[in-house]
Amino acid sequence: MGLTGLEIYKQLPKKNCGECGPPTCLAFAMALANGKAQLDACPYVSDEARANLESASAPPIALVKAGAGDYVVEMGDETELFRHDKKFYHETAIAFKVSDTLSEDDIEAKAKEIDGLVFERVGLQYRVQFAAVVNDSKDPVTFKNAVSKVAAVTNITPMLVSEDPVAIEGALEVVGDRKPVIYAATTDNYEKMTELAKSKECPLVVKADGLEALAELVEKVVGLGYKQLILDSGQRETAKVIADLVQIRRQAIKKKFRPFGYPTVAFTTEEDPLAEINQAVAYVSKYASVVVLNTTDKAHVLPLLSWRQNLYTDPQVPIQVEEKLHKVGEPDENSPVYLTTNFSLTYYSVEGEVEATKIPSYILAVDTDGTSVLTAYAAGKFEAEKIAEVMEKVGLNDKVKHRNIVIPGYVAVLKGKLEEASGWNVIVGPREASGIVAFAKSQFS
């Protein structure tokens, strides 16, 4: 996205005064292109050149922040259409609706459910981002009470869903310091909404009917001097929502179309909670920065958050587990010992199957830079001497009385050397993790 040194050089005064540090304007331009200098260091750059350079170097999609303290949510700042080109940076934030027409008890219960949506899976913690209080009552006082109630129960950042500036103003009195998302500025209320958002520096959703109207309204809000924005094209049909999300992303990244250089929000419409999750999967896949849901059932939310986590992993950096002796259940000195690599996918496949054997066991994960068994072996990162060293390092000798270690079937060839290097008896296990249950049954029961 950035400009080359030569493109920048054309915009500079070409005085070669050296006052910026580097001896020539060209050297300064090169430093700018590499992010090693700031344009402000040049005392002579023209206003026009400054504007040109700033807009060219700005990220295609703005970084927008909501929330405070431990509950800050970052959205946008994406640079790619396809994750394999680099990576996706800021995971889709998930919001959950709470209607202000619910009874006080129900609001409290719903807020507690949202607060409890924290999951532990494959060594990671999955969290949700927003509690979206919806002003269905159309009454500002009821809305303010509901927002207060939710805020008393959970620290999760609020999203204030009302097109009535009076309702938003009241709610901001209670939760303004938590930097909630304000939903939404429309053609009818944008001046007042922008003022409110500005006063508390909260992100403001700009909502319009269709892309054309959205671009116009964004420009109006930006014209009022506010840029912490989130976009809603107003579409609610799955295929059309996807079209708009793709179009907004393309416009921002390929054309640097400024009105669309912001994060986006999508709302599900499906009533069946399972169908709703499926709809949300499509929106998470196709670039939505925020998805607003109804269902707060753990069994529904976990699969969605798992997909989000998968999609947003860095394709170049495999997720790894710690190099150590992991425990499954409460193993003792007679428990089996399995060997695998520290590639998270490999490790957790093995762990899942070892767990299924119902035999408490140890799993030794060797650091192979997060590569799978065969890849690690081929790259010389999973060799007998190294494995023996790790066995020594984790004190395997003291953990169990027996001297049997199970190695993955794909590296059966390691058997001899590892026996030599470690002095242990090496048992060749199944090639695939899926064979572990049957293997354990025949070996250890």
Binding site: F82, R83, H84, V118, F119, E120, R121, V122, L211, E212, A215, E216, E219, E237, T238, A239, K240, I242, A243, V246, Q247, R250, Q251, K254, K255, F257, P259, F260, P273, L274, A275, I277, N278, Q279, V281, A282, S285, K286, D297, K298, A299, H300, V301, L302, P303, L304, S306, W307, Q309, N310, L311, T313, P315, L345, Y348, S349, G352, E355, A356, S434
Partner: protein, 323 residues
């Protein structure tokens, strides 16, 4: 500021593959499907033509499968009757096609003979009118015997047979050539091997419109993102004119999703994960939905509710969204 809609024009299309053959075409199917043929990214109707809707095939096995109760309770009384099982999938659960997995051929398991396997496929053909996808037990030598026998006995039915792999593609490809079936070319999550295998198979003169790619997906939470990106790259390659990456893609959704601990573990064991029934269904449905966005054309699935959800999602995604 006016918005000038960006349309990405493709140079080429995804290949088309036809599954099944009617009486007039030499088979016995009452319905056939064509998959692939898109000239745009998945469901980007605003860029080009989305020619055919993705299809969902439900899995039937020739032996009683070792499935969790969440699944088996929907097939009570038919799990040992492949014909009735298939009929239930089509009539009650809306399966577009049937995926017959000849697990019983496994030498370490029931070790069924090629003739017994043929009988199972015939039984399913008699029971339903939809196209069939048939794979073996994934033991190379045995599959070569079994699938060759199936190909011969079902000549004219235009089956989709798998799996042809880099080290073992000749026998199955030859059988598909001779008896006019389609082949599933499976590569291990590797776009280069995927392309290489398609080249090898077409070098044996099987036309590209008789090949379907299986990229070997991981299920949700277990490497699905690798398959997702490989599929996106293959689709982009196809649209840019790379014929050897242009075949429609098949995903073994049911098998991979239901392997996951998250699809099976009880709420008692993992109270933080919620009810296992909905969780299992969604583990499969979300795997399917995610891969649809990357370009899956044929989804092999298991749970009736997951199938229903997936078909509903496909209906919505097939709606025209051009500007």
């Amino acid at each position: 500021m006016a918005v000038n809609i960006i349309k990405e024009k493709s140079l080429a299309k995804v290949g088309q593959v036809k599954l099944g053959a009617t009486k007039e075409e030499g088979g016995t199917r009452t319905v056939t499907y064509t998959v692939g043929g898109d000239s745009a990214l998945p469901f980007h109707h605003f860029d080009g033509e989305i020619a055919n809707r993705p299809i969902v095939a439900m899995e039937v096995q020739d032996i009683k499968p070792n499935w969790p109760e969440t699944l088996t309770k929907h097939f009570e009384g038919v799990l040992d009757k492949p014909g009735e099982w298939a009929k239930k999938c089509v009539d009650e659960y809306g399966a577009d096609a049937i995926y017959v997995r000849l697990e019983g051929a496994h030498p370490d398991g029931a070790d069924k003979s090629p003739d017994q396997c043929v009988a199972v496929v015939k039984e399913v053909l008699d029971a339903v009118g939809v196209p069939l996808i048939v794979t073996g037990c994934e033991v190379e030598d045995k599959d070569n015997e079994v699938l060759t026998a199936v190909a011969e006995a079902c000549a004219g039915e235009n089956l989709l047979l798998g799996f042809a792999e880099q080290e073992n593609y000749k026998s199955l490809t030859a059988a598909c050539m001779v008896h006019k079936h389609n082949v599933i070319a499976r590569s291990p999550l590797d776009i280069n091997i995927c392309k290489q295998l398609n080249i090898l198979i077409t070098e044996m003169n099987l036309p590209t419109e008789r090949i379907v790619i299986d990229p070997s997906i991981g299920g949700l939470g277990y490497g699905i993102e690798y398959a997702y990106s490989i599929m996106e790259r293959a689709r982009l390659g196809a649209l840019q004119g790379d014929k050897m990456l242009s075949m429609p893609i098949l995903c073994t959704v049911g098998k991979e999703a239901w392997r996951a601990k998250e699809a099976n573990a009880s709420q008692e064991e993992y109270p933080g994960w919620g009810d296992e029934e909905d969780r299992g269904i969604l583990w499969e449905a979300v795997t399917a939905s995610a891969l649809l966005q990357a370009g899956a054309s044929i989804l092999l699935m298991r749970h009736p509710k997951a199938v229903e959800l997936t078909k509903r999602a496909i209906d919505q995604l097939m709606e025209d969204n051009s500007y």
